[in-house]
Amino acid sequence: MNAIEFKYITKRFGDLTANYNVSFAVRKNSVHCLIGENGAGKSTLMKILFGIYKPDSGIIKINNVEKSFDSPLDAIKSNIGMLHQHFMLIEDFTILENVILGSEVTIKYKIDFEWSEKTLNNFNDKYNLGLNLEQKISEISISEQQKVEILKLLYRNSEILIFDEPTAVLSPVEVKEFYKIIEKFKDEGKTIILITHKLHEVKEIADRVTVLRRGEVVYETEKENLDINILSRKIVGDVILKNDISKETVMINQEDSVIKLSNITLRKNGHDILNKLNLSLHNGEIYGVCGVEGNGQSELVDLIFGLEKKFSGYLEKNTNKISLVPDDRLKKGMIKEFTIGENLILKDKNKLNITKKYLTGLTDEVINNFDVRVPENSVIMKLLSGGNQQKVIFAREIELNNDVLIFSHPTRGVDINATAFIHSKIIEQRNAGKAVLLISSDLDELLSLSDKFGVIYKGTLVKEFSSELENIQNETMKNKLLEKIGKLMIGISVE
């Protein structure tokens, strides 16, 4: 039986067709993966299902009954829940308050917190979420915020669950945890639609896969016939970009670090967020940092970037020309109400007479050079697809031509081709003699790009690798290294 059927769904934004004649079915009690390049129309289709957008034409059937939702509220009433690509939580509310918001259970107009808390704690235990309901959203990590969103879905009795790129923000360990939760959902008879750019995840979890390209369904396959190579070709339409740029030897003088952190300790609310951390960045070198989110990565970035000043230890900066692609693009990377062009000029020195023509020119350049897919040149950033927003931010930071570049999860939410492109750009920067700090939860990315590589745990770089990275073409060596790193990341020391 089908839980959901899309029939001839078309959705246009102005001249842009985000979905065209999309038809496919999602079996009840299955995991259905929806994949495709950035801007292919995945999020749009899900927003239509969830009642955020109305389709221009086409119908949706839920459990074989035609439904038309005017708002997410209607969708929630039909037991559909959605975890958005960008979370929708209120920073100053506690987890409990966030979860019950909009569906409060009341006794005589008073919210029944006790009952809510009990219910939520039940879910918390059952799915091993490990959340403390009293904490505020502003105090918890991204992966915990995601769990809050999941808790929201559970609290609202969702039977059909939509996940828009849930794993983009998770470290490998957390990804595993997440898929355990998904398995559990399936065991309970729930239906799951999942969007991701990571094909090995698809291979592992999907019962059926649908591929969208430029708004249309171009391929569909069942678990049995699933082949990653075919999928990736279907996604990009047979033009696979090769990561064709390779590292060149850059003469570096190990003595001359561009940025050097010695014995840095950063205390916040009684915790050592960074703890006697040592790190130096050199010209022509990519330094990779990996770790579970919340072990001091974002503070490390803030500190180097110059936003965190209350630390002890010694920070030596030989330049102030630092580019940054931040971890949270919506919160830190852009003004979402501004157009692409307006976002590009925010880092300019003082300039008078900024004309529309100037902005359009800048925008076109970035659109062409970085293959950003947009409905039109003067679109505001909010309306770009997630991956395309990321490309704009990346483009801006590269074009600044700074001495040091910090990339925090540069390919988060970015499709295969664009990932290859971004990787080649990063290497290009390195080859040009820039110092690069790369923070990522994607170990493959880190291992293939880094010249040096450190594992961060509880604010300390617990181990640094460099020569080991030369043999990663060798499968067994690589796996050995990965195993080591995996242990270090969760605080188990290795020799």
């Binding site: 830190k332 307006e342 008078l352 039109e376």
Partner: protein
């Protein structure tokens, strides 16, 4: 191609038109409830405003300070600074303008005028810096600090005026030299005979253009709005948020002092206690109605000017206070219609 932009403009025009119509409807109902004939009341009002050069002149004269003050506030509001302190700020600046114009009577106008602008700007601006600094250093909301500062500034001006500078047994300063008075429109156009409309109106229009340019065409303007939209992101983009907030407060508050030009140099020749008549608060509504767009400020100031002068005209038919009610209705309907239209235009 630019469908989003056109869409936004279209949405704005639609929402403002609907609001104006809505306001008229509600006003008519209100007048009916009061037992007045709406045709007579509205007819008299518009007849007064548009029927003669004098009425038109007076309306533009009333709109002039609203344009000026609305522009200053628009700068603050774009940075998400809710400055409720314009009333105090503009009084301090205007007071100083009147003193400068009086005591530097030896200067030629060509030097004196910029000196007046500068001194008024600095004094009002500095009073704007106080809440800015408290906000930055201590995190105190500017809404509270600027409201409170209004009382303090007004009391201070009051004290200085009465104890040191006022003409005996009045609450006004000495009259400035006749040669410093800004020409009236009526000197060039016969039709404005008797009206106080003066060249400050042109100054206000230029100021609006300048403010528009500042906000929408310069790096500073972009940074200002970036901070207003998202302080965290701005910080990560290397914008010095505190510097922007200080500047926005300083420039925005400083501009409010120019309303004194209209009253002192364009009209009475002196600063007088209570001259502003809550201008600093009305200008908040003017800026909001214009969505903080300085060109829009011109039009919303005109609307308020019409209500203000038209209110006087129908004073003997309906209570003047009805104009405040209408002002309130305009704002409420704009705000609510706006949300609806926004939703419709997605």
């Amino acid at each position: 191609m630019e469908f989003l932009l056109n869409k936004k403009l279209k949405a704005n025009i639609v929402s403002i038109s609907i609001s104006v119509v809505l306001t008229f409807l509600i006003t008519i109902i209100l007048l009916l409830i009061l037992g007045k004939n709406p045709v007579v009341v509205l007819g008299t009002m518009f007849g007064e405003v548009f029927g003669s050069g004098y009425g038109l002149g007076q309306t533009l004269f009333k709109a002039t300070p609203l344009i000026i003050c609305g522009c200053g506030l628009a700068i603050c509001f774009h940075a998400s600074i809710f400055n409720i302190g314009a009333e105090g700020q503009l009084n301090a600046g205007s007071f100083v303008i009147s003193l400068v114009a009086f005591y530097f009577s030896g200067l030629p106008f060509i030097l004196l005028f910029p000196l007046c602008l500068l001194s008024g700007f600095i004094v009002s601006g500095v009073f704007g810096l106080i809440p800015a600094i408290i906000k930055i250093k201590k995190g105190v909301s500017e809404v509270i600090s600027t409201i409170m500062l209004n009382f303090i500034i007004l009391a201070l001006v009051n004290y200085l005026l009465i104890d040191f500078f006022a003409v005996k047994s009045t609450v006004r300063t000495e009259k400035i030299s006749e040669s410093f008075m800004i020409p009236k429109f009526s000197e060039y156009f016969q039709m404005f005979q008797g009206s106080s409309l003066n060249l400050t109106f042109v100054f206000a229009l230029l100021l609006a253009l300048f403010t528009y340019y500042l906000i929408y065409k310069t790096s500073f303007g972009y940074k200002l709005r970036a901070v207003g939209f998202n302080e965290t992101a701005s910080k990560y983009m290397g914008i010095k948020n505190n510097k922007i907030i200080l500047l926005a407060f300083f420039i925005g508050s400083g501009i409010t002092s120019f309303v004194g030009i209209n009253f002192i140099m364009g009209y009475k020749g002196y600063y007088e206690l209570g001259f502003s008549n809550n201008l600093g608060f009305t200008a908040i509504a003017v800026a909001l109605l214009a969505k903080n767009n300085p060109i829009g400020v011109i039009f919303s100031a005109l609307l308020f000017g019409i209500l203000d002068y038209g209110g006087l005209a129908v004073n003997n038919i309906v209570p003047k206070e009805i104009m405040f009610v209408i002002q309130g209705i305009v704002i409420l309907s704009i705000l609510s219609v706006d949300k609806l239209v926004e939703k419709y235009y997605g």
